[in-house]
Symmetry: C2
Subunit: 201 residues, 2 copies
């Protein structure tokens, strides 16, 4: 994604360009969550401390910017999986990761209209998501199963989709629906209930 390798032409990418690119993605994430996907380009450029020209240089299409924001989020949640897997107990790591995953899904609410707009620019995103996040969760899940703290009859993709569906906005008005609470329930079910390999399943 955001590589600093020497370009094909032979020269290295300028550091200010890279800095601005990051700043733009960060600013866009914030503004998208605040004002929505249709926020004025100038608002994003201003927040990034950059001229509009620079924004358009890096992201000629708005969908390019949306894609970059989503992909950076995907990268972050996948990286978080690796970190938690290395630093926490398997059960805690999984639980915390699911919490963060639910938050991640919730924070992307403002982008949903764009993502579901049918724009072909977003065709590759689901694949990117599965390829990055799937293995990250699979690793956490494997460790937890191996440690005997989690049932072994669900796959990583199962969990990914189930949680994503739990976080889906409900079509009809239902005041008390709290996706993140439902995910916590789901996580408890994963950790507490069902068969586990250590107990003979």
């Amino acid at each position: 994604m955001t590589d600093s390798s020497p370009a094909p032409g032979g020269r290295r990418r300028r550091v200010d360009a890279q800095r601005n690119l990051h700043a733009l993605v960060d600013a866009a994430r914030t503004v998208f969550d605040t004002t929505g996907v249709d926020a004025p380009a100038k608002e994003i450029a201003d927040l990034a401390g950059v001229g509009v020209g620079t924004l358009y240089r890096h992201f000629p299409l708005r969908s390019d910017l949306v894609k970059a924001v989503v992909e950076s989020g995907i990268d972050a949640i996948a990286a978080l999986g690796a970190r938690l897997g290395a630093e926490e107990e398997p059960g805690d790591a999984l639980k915390e990761w699911l919490r963060q995953y639910a938050t991640f899904l919730g924070s992307k609410r403002g982008l949903a209209p764009a993502l579901h707009s049918g724009d072909p620019a977003y065709k590759e995103l689901p694949g990117y998501f599965l390829a990055k996040v799937g293995p990250a969760l699979a690793a956490l899940l494997d460790s937890a199963v191996a440690a005997g703290v989690v049932r072994d009859d669900v796959s990583a993709d199962d969990v990914l989709y189930a949680v994503a569906n739990l976080c889906m906005p409900v079509p009809v008005e239902r005041p008390g629906y709290e996706p993140r609470r439902m995910v916590a329930v789901f996580a408890d079910g994963l950790l507490g209930g069902g068969r586990r390999p250590a107990h003979g399943g």
Copy 2:
């Protein structure tokens, strides 16, 4: 919806205003299907043979126009149910209505982005839809069940949702998917298969 009753103030609504209002909704339906929900206001006004000012007089917000288009479609499909119920054999009426319903859903494809945008302006539409179309289908269904040409173990809402789901755009690329053909299959199942009251169910 489009009433011509005397306004609260005491005076009747002007006929040209009402004519323009209809023309605008018709034009908007066409343009939305052609150019999309984000079509320029002038394109709609031109097609309606009206100035932009008139458009904004009747529909200050774009969502007002979208709502009017959707509601007029809902009214039409509900009215069609009544007409078919009165003029056709129960089985034919149901079959034909489902065909038209599928077409109706397909034609609203261009509006989907707006409808799913989370704009609170559209909150009431699902309720309006259910209240109008539900009874219309229920009447057709009751007649058909009474005539013994349709299984009696499905409700109107079941059918409404099932068909709507059949017409849902598929997330992954599947070239041959033809919603209307699937609906026809579904209709045959309704008419042909399963238990029917006349045969002892």
